[in-house]
Each structure stands twice: as C-alpha cells, then as structure tokens.
C-alpha cells in the first residue's frame, strides 16, 4: 500500500514538473499511465492449471464452462469430454502471498484431480478453500509462496463512475501469461429490461482499477449489476467454506433423485408389418427397441411425465408399463396420454397410491429471463437397470437461445447421449425446462420446453388420442382425409399460382391426384388438382404442413423388376418395403396421424384456381390397407399372404368382388419358391375355388399335400402347383 502511495506521489510530481516545463501538458500521457498501472499489478497475475480426472465414468457429473474469450470476445466452451489429460488454464490473481482468487467454474470438486498455480516457469500446488457465490469467485490456498509474485493491494477509494474505471487483465494466451489494461472509456452500461437491472459490461476475470490506477475489486462475472459489490475488495466479500457448496450439491442430487422414477416399457412382439415403419427417429432410439428402459419425472398428482419417442403405431404396441423403485420393487403403471407435439407421455401409478419415497419434481415459477447470470444445473438422467444414474452440469446463464416455438431458453448441456433424458434446474432444484424429442421435427430433434409450457401442457391434458396402447388390429392407426397426392414440383406450383403462398406458409405443398369417394376430403369438397397447403387442428393451435416428396412417387416398377431381377434377387423383395401402390401410412396421412389423429376436427388450407380456401373436416380412420390387412403365413409353403385391400385392388385393377389374395413374401428354397410363386403376385383360385381372403386361403391349404393355385401378375397369369411335404 505504501509503495503504491509512493508511486502515485511520484506520478503526481512528474505531472507537476511537466506542468512547469510545458504548461500545455497537464499530466502523463495515457500510454504512460497504462504502463504504470500494468507495472503495479502485473506481479499478482498467475495462471491456474486445472487437471481434470480422466477416469470418470459415464454417469459422473458433467460440466460445460462457457467463458468469454478475451482474444476474440466471444463465448467458448470447455467440456469434460474434450479435455483429456490437458490442463485447463484459468486466470488467477494473488490476493495474499498464499492465496489466489479465480473464477469459480462451479464444477463438482470430484471432477478435479489437482490444481497448480503457475508463473514464469515456476509452479506450486494449490487447493480450493473457499467460495464467493455472489461474486462467482473461488479462493485457492497455495502450498508454498510462488517466487516472483506479489499480491494485489486494494485501495479504499472507489471510482467516481463505472465507466471511468480501467480493468487489468491476465490471460494465458498462446502459451504465455499476458497482462494488459482495458480502458474504461469503451465500456458500456446497459439496462436489462427483462430483469430490471442495470449492468456494466465489465470484462470477465479482470481487476477493476479506479482513476488513480489502484485496484478496487476483481470482476469474475460479466456483466455485473452496477449497484452490487462490483467495486468492493475481496476482503469484504461473503465467503463460504468449500464443503458447504458440496453439501448443497449432494442435497440437490438427493432431491432430484427422489423425483425421478425408473420406468420400464415393453412393446408387444408384433409382426413387422404395420408397425415397422419409423415415423421419426431420435437420438433416444426408443423406436428400435422392444424393451425400453426410460424414466419419468414425478408430478404432484401421482403421475409421471416420461419422454418417449414412439409413434402412434409403436405406442399402440405397448403392453407393459412398470415403475422400478429404488429398492428394486416393481409397480404397475397405467397409460394416461401422450402429447401430440413433444414426444412425451403421462403415466400413472396403477393403484393410485404413490410410493412415499417419490416426491414431485418442483417446477420453477419465475420468468426465464430472470435466470440471467444465475447458477443453473443441467441434469442428465438415465435408467441403468432400474437405478437412476444422474449427472449434473453446472453453468452460469450467460446467453439464451431461441427454440422452435419462439421462446428463449438458456443453453444447457444435458442428455445428449443415447438413452439419457434431461432437464435443467435452479440450485434450489426447481425444474425450469425439460428436453423432449420433437414429433414435428423430421430428425427427432430434442428441444427444450420451458416449465411454464410444460405446466400448461400438463394442465390442459391436450393428449393426442392416437397415442395409446391398444390390442390386435386396433394397433394400426392411420388418420386420413381420403386423398392421394403427389409432389408439387416448382413448375406445377407456378402453374397453380401457389408459389407465393407456399413461401408464406413454409410448406412444399401437395397436389391432390385422387380423392376417394365418401371420404372426409370428398365431403369437404376437395378435388383433384387442388393444392394442399397445411392443416390446423386442436383449436387452431397445432398446424402441420401437407407435403409430398419425390421419394413417395412411383415406388417399385414391377415390370422392370420382373424383367431384370433374377429369381434369387426377386425372392428377396419384401412387399412391406417396396410396394407399387400408394402407401396409406406415409405422406400426408403420416403427418395427420402424428399431429391430429382419427376423429380430430381440422381445417385444411388449400389453393384452387390461385385462391386460398379453407375447409373443415373430421379426420376418418383410413380403411384397411396393405399394412393393416389380415395375413396368413403358410408355413408349409414358405409364403405370406394378405387380403387385397383397396389400394392393391386399384393397382391390379381387381374389381371389388373379384377374388384374390396377395403374395407378400416368399421364402427362398421353400415349396412356394420352388414352384415359382413370387412376391407381389395375386392368387385368385386354390384348386379351382375362388379365394377372397388370406384366412380362406389358409383354410383351403390345410391338410393338402399338393395345391394348384391360379396366379396373376399384372397382365400375365399362370397355374402354380405346389407340392407340400410334411416335415
């Protein structure tokens, strides 16, 4: 302190002397002043090297440290996975011979293996001893004094105004410890209307200097509330023992654990048809599994909110729902409903009584913007064989990202790996956002949903009735309006005068190529040649673009196939994968089913003669179609047959009463294959008797050791005799 005073005095003298010599010079130049300030504080600047543990298991807490890079003035991230052995350098300031202050990374101490304080090629070990939560600082104790360093000395003279301060910084830049000075003149004071606070854009990790160049505080957060302890010396800060923070974290985890319930879901082993299609995929991969280990967030009313990315048909296959409690006991769960937009379902403890150890997850009530600058935790949870694995990632909210529905949420790192689910909480354990796969996104993108919206969703119980466990044939659910559509090419869009409207409604549109009579679309007056734009439903809240893409057009060309495929290749054809008729479950029906469901009232916007029109209709259940048609697997023949449904009849030009059963699959080497029966053929007669259903075909085959089938492709017919050998 004394030295500093002396220095100041000297400066003053020099100024006076200069004044005497050259009256027009009123003091040292800006450059000289800056040099002097750096010289005064530079000996306090050190680098803290943090060594992270490398043998952390998958469920250990995570971290993601966003920090403002002084070099490029943008936010960078430092994450566990990317660190490896390499130490992470952070700026630190010596405040006593054996004490260093650094920015608190708010990471769990069990992630860190050791810390070192480094300067000028010298290093000593250090360990954290105290936290300053309000200032975001961590205090380290050095095992020995570091040669060549000198602690900061803090003056009691506060600056007159924030913008007249200077800031002394210290960074580890390109392998060198660099100190420097930021002049206060370029700094900004900003008012944040969302939070109601005025804040100063103080550079992060800098020593705040007053006009005289004396240290008055250290800024570890940016920006800082102007009225807070921005300009107070660390000695006046309120610290807490390190253990206190750790204890809080442990308590937070315990609390969260009590709100999470391991959930086991089983999907019935169904035949592949009708349910094998993936409507959307997601990182969570649920749709490819029969046994799903997931988890639910306990709600106040004995219900669980479970992120689950199954489509309607897959949800229909659910035949077992269980909660696995901490002691391993299993409790039956009931299905309550599924949300249409976000891939989440609500389940309920079957007997209505919630296990006492399950506590509801508390939802944060405050506004999201108020979380600015506060500490938050991203929670990643997974069900590991009935046990909840939990890891936290702490971060200070420095920025908000816009979501697909236009709200802004803090960026949090959670649940990115498969089988993990995530949400984010305040230090008090209040959940302010959850992450769910988005049903509307083509790629099953996982998006954040603010607590307020979750609460609204749960309160309104706006469930999509299409998503529910079902049995038997009822499992295949397709909502339709009754049209076939084709892709709207750009030329067609121009011809139909809809280009502008497509852009305005962000849809690619679909051209109606056929309207089935007696369907909702026919009743609503849709006609061939109309251009579909979008459909709205759920009281206008939900909207889906009605689009067709090129991949839906054409399908398999049987003629080409028969001409070029040799028998071996042809036998591999699976009518479930390739079929030349329109796919009733795909295209716009897929969108309508996913978004609205059977029986939903929707408004369809379309363009006719260049004019946009709207029509109302109630979605019907699609008639029995290829994928939902009853089947017969003739094991002795090695072939699978299906009833011919309306679209298959259309393709083969089979009249409504014409007999026929479709060959879906033929197993190579089995009697049907040997006899030359091929997939995508129609069997019209068995031993001369007309056959109208797969079931009837099965009856006619029973007990026979040779059958004669009348078979037809498109135009060609033939007689197939199959010898059935008893095995």
């Amino acid at each position: 302190m004394k030295n500093h005073m002396m220095f100041l005095l000297a400066l003053g003298l020099a100024a006076v002397a200069a004044l005497g010599a050259k009256p027009e010079n009123r003091g040292p130049s800006r450059c000289e002043r800056m040099n002097a300030a750096i010289a005064r504080h530079a000996a306090s600047a050190v680098t803290v090297q943090i060594f992270f543990k490398t043998d952390l298991d998958e469920d250990a807490d995570d971290f993601d440290i966003p920090y403002l890079c002084p070099n490029c003035n943008s936010v960078h991230h430092r994450q566990r996975d990317r660190n490896g052995e390499k130490p992470y350098p952070m700026a630190g300031y010596l405040v006593a011979p054996d004490r260093v202050l650094m920015q608190d990374l708010v990471i769990s101490s069990n992630l860190v293996s050791r810390m070192e304080v480094v300067r000028g090629g010298q290093k000593v070990a250090a360990c954290p001893v105290r936290r300053y939560p309000a200032e975001g600082a961590l205090e380290l104790k050095l095992s020995a004094p570091l040669p060549g360093t000198k602690p900061l000395v803090f003056a009691s003279v506060p600056p007159q105004s924030a913008t007249e301060c200077s800031y002394f910084y210290n960074v580890f830049d390109k392998g060198l410890l660099v100190s420097g000075l930021v002049s206060g003149e370029s700094l900004r004071v900003r008012h944040f209307a969302d939070i109601g606070k005025t804040m100063l854009d103080v550079p992060q990790n800098t020593v705040v200097l007053n006009e005289a160049g004396e240290a008055v505080s250290i800024a570890f957060c940016s920006p800082m509330p102007i009225e807070a302890s921005t300009f107070s010396a660390p000695s006046q800060w309120k610290g807490e023992e390190l253990g206190a923070g750790e204890a809080r974290l442990t308590e937070l985890k315990r609390k969260l654990r009590a709100s999470l319930v391991a959930v086991y879901i089983h999907r019935a082993e169904e035949k592949k048809h009708g349910s094998g299609r993936m409507i959307f995929s997601s990182s969570m991969d649920d749709e490819n599994k029969r046994d799903i280990d997931t988890l639910g967030y306990a709600l106040g009313n004995g219900e669980l909110l479970v992120p689950l990315s199954l489509n309607a048909s897959q949800t229909a296959e659910i035949d077992k729902l269980e909660a696995v409690l901490a002691d391993g006991t299993r409790r039956k769960l009931d299905f309550v409903g599924a949300f249409g937009g976000h891939a989440a379902v609500v389940l309920r403890f079957a007997d209505g009584s919630v296990p006492p150890e399950v506590k509801p997850l508390v939802f944060h009530q405050g506004p999201i913007p108020a979380l600015f600058q506060s500490l938050i935790y991203g929670v990643t949870a997974a069900n590991r064989d009935g046990k909840i694995a939990l890891s936290l990632s702490s971060t200070r909210v420095k920025e908000f990202e816009s979501t697909s529905d236009g709200t802004y949420l803090p960026s949090v790192s959670v649940g990115e790996r498969k089988g993990r689910h995530g949400f984010a909480v305040t230090p008090a354990g209040e959940c302010f956002m959850g992450f769910f796969p988005d049903r509307e996104s083509r790629y099953g993108q996982v998006i954040g949903v603010p607590a307020a919206k979750l609460g609204e969703m749960l309160a309104k119980r706006d469930f999509n009735p299409e998503y529910a466990p079902r049995t038997g044939k009822d499992r295949i659910r397709v909502a339709w309006m009754g049209v076939e559509a084709q892709e709207l090419t750009e030329e067609l869009a121009r011809q139909k005068k809809v280009i502008g409207q497509l852009a305005a409604y962000e849809t690619r549109g679909a051209l109606v190529s056929r309207v089935h009579p007696g369907t909702p679309a026919a009743q609503a007056g849709l006609r061939e040649g109309d251009v579909l734009l979008y459909a709205r439903g759920g009281n206008g809240k939900r909207k889906v673009e009605l689009e067709m893409r090129d991949m839906r057009m054409g399908g398999l060309d049987l003629a080409e196939l028969f001409q070029h495929a040799d028998d071996t290749r042809f036998l591999q054809i699976d009518a479930d994968e390739f079929s030349p008729w329109p796919d009733v479950e795909g295209g716009i029906n897929e969108a309508l089913t996913t978004k609205f469901g059977i029986g939903a009232k929707i408004i369809v916007a379309y363009v006719r003669d260049g004019k946009k029109l709207e029509t109302e209709m109630t979605l019907a259940r699609a008639p029995v179609h290829y994928r939902s048609a009853p089947r017969h697997k003739a094991k002795a023949l090695g072939a699978v047959f299906a009833d011919v449904t309306f679209e298959v009849r259309g393709y083969f030009k089979l009249g409504d009463d014409a007999p026929g059963v479709l060959v879906c699959k033929v197993q190579a080497g089995h009697p049907a294959a040997v006899a030359g029966l091929r997939p995508l053929e129609i069997v019209t007669h068995v031993n001369g008797e007309p056959v109208n259903s797969a079931k009837r075909l099965g009856e006619l085959l029973r007990g026979k050791d040779e059958v004669q089938l009348s078979v037809r492709r498109l135009a060609a017919t033939r007689v197939v005799r199959i010898q059935i050998k008893e095995k």
Binding site: Q495, L558, A675, Q708, R712, R718, V719
Partner: protein, 449 residues
C-alpha cells in the same frame, strides 16, 4: 445377351460320312466346309438411330450375314438391322454394296436383306440352308465378325439342339454351341462339316462357351413370308401356355396329353372364346396337341402362329374333367414393337405401347397409348419430373393416344416458341395418375453449337 456377330466360313468341300471318316483328314473336312460358305459370308456395318437417350442420336454397329441366293439375298439378325438407316455390306471378294431390308421378324430375330447391286451383276456364291436338323455333337464352324473382326472362323460342336430360352421369342428352339461367338458374330452362319448352313448365330454369352443359333429349318419355315410379305406374319390367338411337366418348378400336371392354359391375353381371340387359366388344350384343327416340357412350346407356338388368319378353327380342351370344343378365329399378330419418335426440344423419346413389347404398360393402358421410352438425362422432360415408362395420358388438357397426336402438339409447340415454353402433362406411373408441367424453355441444341 444381345450381341451382334458376323461370321464367315469357307467350307472346303469335304464330306464326312460316318463310315468314310477314317479315310479323310479332319483338317480337310474343316477346310472343305469353310470353303463352301466362306465366299457367301458378309460383313455388315450399319448406321442406326439410337433413341435411348431421348435425343436424335446415331450409332454404328457391325454384324454378320450370309448370302443365300445368287441374286444377292442375305440373312442376318433382326437386331443387326433394327432402326438402321444405312446398311453396308462387304463381301468376301472385297466388293461392297448397300443392302435393303426385304423382310424382318423381331420374334425370330431374323432379317432378309437384298444387296443393291447394279443390273447384270454376276451371280454371287450362295450358301445352302439345310432343312435337316443338326445333332448334338456335330462339329460346327461359326463365321462372322466378332468384335468387328471380319472373316473370322471359330469351331465347336452343337452342344444342345433344343434349348428353350424363355426371354428370347416364343417361336425358336435354339441350337446351343460352344464355338466361340462374340458381339459382331450376330447374323453370321453356323456351318456343319458338309458346308451347309445349320443356323444363324444370334446370341452369345460373354461369360462362357454358350452361344445360341437359330436353326435353319425354323428359318426356312418363315423365309417365304419374309421374302413376299416383308415379315413373318404370325397369327395370334392370345394363349399363354404352360407345359405339363416343369422340373425347375417341381410342377407336374397329372395328364399325358395337351397343354395347360396359363391365361389369355386381354382382347385376344382366346379371351373372347372364354378360355380360363387351368383349362387344358388338347387338339387344334383336329390334331392333338401335347406340350410335356417347355422345349415343346416353340413348335406349338409356330404351329398356331402359322394358322391362316380369319379362318375359324376347331379346338378341343378339357375343363374340370370334361372335354369341350370351341371355335377360334386367329387374327394377325401385327407389330410386336411400337413406333417411337424423339422430341428433342422436350427431351424425350415417345413410343407407342405394344402389348407384346410392354405387356405391363398395356395392362395399365389397355386401349393403347404412348409412353416415355427414354429421357435425355439432363433434358427438359427429365428436369420437369417425367420418367421412363410414364404413360402419357393428356397433353395440354387433351387426350393423347398416338404418336401422331403427340407429334402434332410438338410441331405446334415448336411454332409457338418462344412465346410459349410450358405445357401441362398428365401421366400414369405405375397405374397412378400424376401431373407435370413440361418446361421446354431450354434449347438442348443451343449448347451443342
């Protein structure tokens, strides 16, 4: 499978009767056989239209042929001269002439050409087409121009005399030989040791020693029609047959005579007469019919194909154990491939749907019509979304059923350029109606200049 071969062989007169064989050097036999046919061997070069790219393109191809009459008739394959605009023939004496097609049959892959020689030209050495059937093991020489290498002779034996090739025309029971035959041999003769032409080489197999030859007795059956009527003029009843015994498919019908009717073609005399799949045809015109194996099919097809058109014939068949009789009136089979035309500005080749060539398209468009046979891969049609095998239903709001109607639209479109560059097109793709706007603003020929 589709190769053009030309092969020439000069049989040296050397007769090898079985008992006398020991006396004659085998080399002499071959040389004599070669010497008999080699002077009649023709190397054929054609310039033909290539419409497969949706553009008016041309290509040259080579094949072989054999002179069968002193006045310059020669045989080659139909596929050698198909879509040819210019046919040039090089004879063994070095003289070269253009040739004109006298008659051609796609089903048999045979074409009869006539060399365009000035009047008073001397007689040409003509090869003899034998009416006798070859036997397995017969030593044969293949003559022609494999890969364009004129005047090549290779040797092998007849490997099989009754090969049935399902995809290669209904009327031919092929000779199979292991004489080396390559693209360019097409249309060339296969010659026995007596120096007689036993067949015309038509198909090869690049992967092995199997080539296929149209037997000369079969050719002789249709030669008069080729000569006088310009084609084989097959009659058509519209039956689809299956043999009584099919080892490959492990299918055996418990009958000793007749042929199983697999089905009938839409609109055919057989369909009109009410034949159903599973009926068994046992007699035609009072004569019994039996197809025990697939190899028996071509003979029956030829027999039915040569029935006189327009004259009712009696047929006997068995349905559900009862023998029934019916009258059928064969009609002209007509064209087996539709005409095609390129519309360069639109960037596609349109082709008439032919029930024999495109049965599945004919199924979707039973009244006939025009389809997209090829598109220029970066042309206007392809860019507008049209694809190969799209059946054109409507053009500019009007129904289109023939190539002529489409051409009228095309001529009008060219006239209306540049004021109008778009036209609405409705197509059937896989039986599904689709619409497109064909934008032909781009001029494909502009880039070429």
């Amino acid at each position: 499978m589709r190769f053009l071969f030309g092969l020439v062989l000069l049989p040296f007169a050397c007769v090898a009767a079985h008992p006398a064989m020991q006396a004659t050097d085998f080399r002499d036999i071959v040389l004599n056989a070669r010497a008999k046919v080699f002077p009649s061997l023709v190397y054929v070069r054609v310039v033909c239209k290539d419409l497969t790219e949706g553009r008016n393109e041309k290509l040259t191809a080579s094949g072989s042929g054999v002179v069968i009459s002193k006045d310059g008739e020669l045989l080659t394959n139909h596929h050698v001269i198909d879509k040819a605009e210019e046919i040039r023939c090089l004879l063994s004496d070095g003289s070269a002439y253009e040739a004109k097609v006298v008659g051609s049959d796609k089903d048999m892959d045979i074409a009869l050409l006539k060399l365009q020689r000035p009047g008073g030209s001397p007689d040409l050495p003509a090869a003899e087409l034998t009416p006798d059937h070859a036997e397995i093991g017969d030593v044969v020489l293949a003559m022609g121009a494999p890969w364009g290498l004129a005047r090549s002779v290779t040797m092998g034996i007849i490997s099989c005399t009754d090969r049935y090739l399902e995809q290669c025309g209904p009327y031919t029971l092929w000779y199979q030989t292991d004489a080396a035959i390559s693209p360019g041999n097409s249309g060339g003769p296969l010659v026995d040791t007596k120096g007689r032409v036993v067949g015309i080489n038509a198909r090869g197999n690049t992967r092995g020693a199997q080539a296929f030859t149209i037997p000369s007795p079969t050719i002789l059956e249709i030669l008069p029609n080729l000569r006088t009527k310009g084609g084989a003029h097959w009659s058509w009843l519209g039956f689809q047959f299956q043999p009584l015994r099919d080892f490959d498919r492990n299918t055996y019908f418990p009958y000793t005579n007749g042929v199983m009717i697999a089905g009938t073609d839409i609109g055919s005399p057989a369909r009109k007469a009410g034949f159903r799949p599973g009926d068994r045809l046992v007699a035609v015109d009072g004569q019994g019919v039996t197809v025990r194996h697939v190899e028996d099919l071509p003979a029956l097809e030829r027999r039915l194909g040569r029935l006189p058109c327009g004259t009712a014939i009696a047929v006997a068949y068995v349905r559900d154990g009862a023998q029934l009789a019916a009258k059928l009136v064969p009609c002209e089979k007509g064209k087996v491939e539709g005409d095609e035309k390129v519309f360069p500005r639109w960037g596609f080749t349109a082709k008439e749907i032919n029930r024999f060539n495109e049965p599945d398209l004919a199924f979707h468009a039973p009244k006939g019509g025009v389809y997209v046979a090829a598109t220029d891969w970066e042309g206007n049609a392809a860019n507008s979304g049209l694809r190969r095998r799209d059946i054109i239903v409507e053009f500019d709001g009007a129904k289109v059923a023939t190539l002529g109607e489409l051409d009228a639209f095309y001529q009008k479109a060219l006239k209306d350029l540049p004021a109008r560059t778009r036209v609405d097109v409705s197509v059937l793709r896989q039986g599904r109606p689709l619409r497109f706007v064909l934008n032909y603003q781009e001029d494909p020929e502009k880039d070429d200049q």
